[in-house]
Symmetry: C2
Subunit: 480 residues, 2 copies
């Protein structure tokens, strides 16, 4: 079975599309219909190459396109339907889709099994029964659907428009928004992202099976709250992990989390120890949460494999250096002490007497030649990678001036990076202030554009690099 | 011995002050001298009420003030001197200070014991010997000195100008910048902050002893890399902790951290287990790092003591709710399940079928009446506190529109908070995107102004509230 009709549909109908704003008593007022914007305008704005059909019971026009009153009324073939109408009207829609020969139906609509109510669960089963055997496959209900930048399909109007090599699937729609944003801000780009919600028909097993074979996808991530088929999931995870790096966020470990997961997508969270051993056996990387997954995706994308775990930490600030050293070692890297001879060599570029040169290396603000210092460290045999940290919150003079100053340092450092042979990364360390957060945003953007791995803390950098090296050692023992 | 001359000096000389910019080959060019700006201009701009004297060997003027060529040349008495000249010139300065009858000397200058070089350590000892017995006490060297908003003294030009009830002392200057910024952004205000560096004379024991008795100070924090007198420190910590909440960041646990700490301020980091048991015995709260300390300061400042640990988590977003539930329980809070009857009551305000109402409670974007829902939860006997979470990164439509929308929700929620009886806090959950970070900054600012406890994650909220409750149970068993 191929899911090409989902990822490469020749035509898409959006059922429930309207230009009229929805208003609710407690809700903020807008001049647009949010769902229509998210699911229909984006197709037009992103240049989806197939035909686009708005459908609603009133007819008229949406964004200048003729509105059909039913999917059945659309003149040409319809491969894919996005549904944003209320749940009670969906059995009729599924019948229409079957009659029309639609191949994929994405139900954004919620209010089914996830409510925990028997009649809503029955409604969900009814939809699946109507579709069964017809060739129509259902995504959802209760999900965001498909982000596929190569086809101009998205539900995040501010997601990146360029394609990449990373796929992500998630039971939770929120998690796809969190993950895409966290990784995209650091330059990661996606092949296919699917929020599949209640998994009434198409589930994580179907999707992982497809992505394992998908030539466009080189890295796979997933957020899974629970499954109906543990054995099937273990098999498909092992298949995926044998072909490409595969990572999973598996949550719902606490009682409240399980209760939340069950209400959220109607899934059973299962026993955590069983999950853990299944994932280990299959070679899948289990990550803590979306941040760690974004860290690993960034590392796989932009950080060449180091020979070993010995890092040099370079950056202005004594207390920041002590802290980052601790974090690096807690995350699994080693900071070897710099020998006397090399300290003397580095010392020639330093103007302040109080600077630390033992690793961490603090060049001070007034170092004569950062480039020379970085080149010395790059040439050191005991170092396998170079981590440059910026700590904007430790600057006494924190203002526009410091943002400009950090910008100068960053520009010079990223230039110098081009001449260095070892893997290198940028860390913006220990930021809580408004100006510090602005420096983080600016630095992350420049790193993403330069395809340099960026991390928002030394711990996160060290942990991701360590796990990446473990993965490579296991899967490509010759390379590692 | 009183340290009043440090915190309430009648006159301050800044030695090394100049309007000429410093330039170094690798350093960014500026139109000002950064050290003069930080240590002299701030006194003038913040309205320090005493006399201010710039001193440098060239004479002339700085900011329109007459420059004296030596501390000895200043006509009136000088209580306090800030030194920003190179280390080699400091023995002469200390002699001048002794001759002039100066009482406090802050040596910002670095290049002493922290270098690990014997001749630099000897230079530091020489300064202390010159001062001994004269009544002159030295802060530093290698430190930022004093932030004392009540007197218009600061080294952070963007620190808050208002005073508060929190004191912080730190061997690391960076840590004072980090801590003040992290806590101030959330509304915490400070009585006295001291960065004391190498502690050649005045040390953490002197400072803690003073702050334990200081009427202006109600909460004490400290960052300590090491000490010369473990017994003395244990005694003064016990004294401080018996009088007011006292928290310590104690780092340097890994080998690289210890090496960094030793280079940084010349301190011996000591055995971690010994520290841990000392701190426990004295009733001091040991925190992980500056973020946790800022979380606790925020909690002590703005979060009334809950009866017990049962929290209701309220906010839009399914996946975000599951995640935050896990984090709350991992942090030590309990999320009791909401009973059927109350769910039905809450359900009357909800328009979307798929919303979660079991705790976490997801009102959905289009809830009819958030205020009514919050009031129902506030009245629930099984709940001891209400946590409202905003998750801007889970919004599909992430743009200026969502920032406005969050602003509306925030405004309405903070208004509603005024009518609720239970302790409540705001969490901005799981933010990595640029727009999400902007929402965090905006929300944090509004909470600080409203004196509502703000946390940047559910885990950090839960952990801080739990530790705060533990502290109260131990120190005020009748209240807790």
């Amino acid at each position: 079975m191929s899911l090409d009709f989902i990822f490469n549909p020749r035509s898409i109908a959006v059922v429930g599309a309207t230009d009229s704003p929805v208003s609710a008593p407690g809700a903020p007022s807008t001049s647009f219909n949010a769902h229509t914007l998210i699911f229909l305008y984006t197709l037009l704005d992103w240049g989806y190459p197939g035909k686009v059909y708005p459908v609603n019971t009133k007819g008229d026009e949406v964004r200048g396109l003729k509105v059909y009153r039913s999917v059945r009324d659309i003149p040409g073939p319809v491969d894919y339907v996005i549904c944003i109408i209320p749940a009670d009207a969906t059995p009729g829609l599924v019948q229409d889709c079957v009659a029309k020969g639609v191949k994929g139906l994405h139900l954004y609509t919620a209010g089914y099994a996830e409510t925990g109510l028997a009649d809503r669960a029955a409604l969900q089963s009814e939809l699946v029964s109507i579709a069964r055997g017809s060739g129509l496959r259902i995504i959802g209900p209760n999900c965001m659907g498909v982000y596929r930048p190569g086809m101009g399909m998205t539900y995040g109007p501010n997601f990146p428009r360029e394609s990449g090599n990373v796929a992500f699937i998630s039971q939770s729609g929120s998690y796809t928004l969190l993950l895409v944003r966290a990784a995209a801000a650091r330059g990661v780009r996606f092949s296919k992202v699917v929020s599949y919600g209640n998994a009434s028909d198409l589930d994580e097993i179907d999707l992982l099976d497809y992505l394992a074979d998908d030539a466009e996808t080189e890295i796979i991530g997933a957020y899974i709250e629970g499954t109906r088929d543990g054995t099937g999931l273990a098999r498909v995870l092992a298949k995926a992990a044998s072909k490409k790096p595969t990572m999973i966020i598996k949550k719902g470990g606490t009682e409240a989390g399980k209760r939340g997961a069950s209400t959220h997508t109607g899934a059973m969270a299962g026993d955590d120890a069983v999950w853990d051993s299944t994932l280990k056996q299959s070679g899948v990387i289990r990550v803590e949460d979306v941040e760690e997954m974004a860290d690993l995706m960034t590392t796989f994308a932009f950080f060449p494999l180091p020979r070993a775990r010995r890092a040099v930490l370079f950056g202005v600030g004594g207390g920041a250096g002590v802290r980052a050293s601790d974090e690096c070692e807690a995350g699994g890297l080693i900071l070897p002490a710099i020998p006397e001879v090399m300290r003397a060599e580095l010392g020639r570029s330093v103007t302040t007497a109080g600077t630390m040169l033992r690793n961490p290396v603090d060049p001070g603000h007034y170092a004569r030649d950062w480039t020379a210092m970085m080149q010395i460290l790059d040439g050191w045999e005991e170092a396998d990678m170079l981590l440059w940290q910026i700590a904007p919150d430790i600057e006494a003079l924190q203002s526009e001036v410091i943002l400009q100053y950090i910008n100068q340092m960053r520009y010079r450092t990223l230039q110098t990076f081009n001449s260095l042979s070892k893997p290198k990364a940028v860390i913006v360390q220990a930021v809580e202030s408004d100006i510090g957060l602005q420096a983080l945003i600016d630095t992350r953007k420049m790193c993403a554009e330069s395809r340099v791995a960026f991390y928002p803390s030394a711990y996160r950098a060290a942990r991701a690099i360590s796990r990446y090296m473990e993965y490579r050692a296991r899967h490509d023992p010759d390379r590692a």
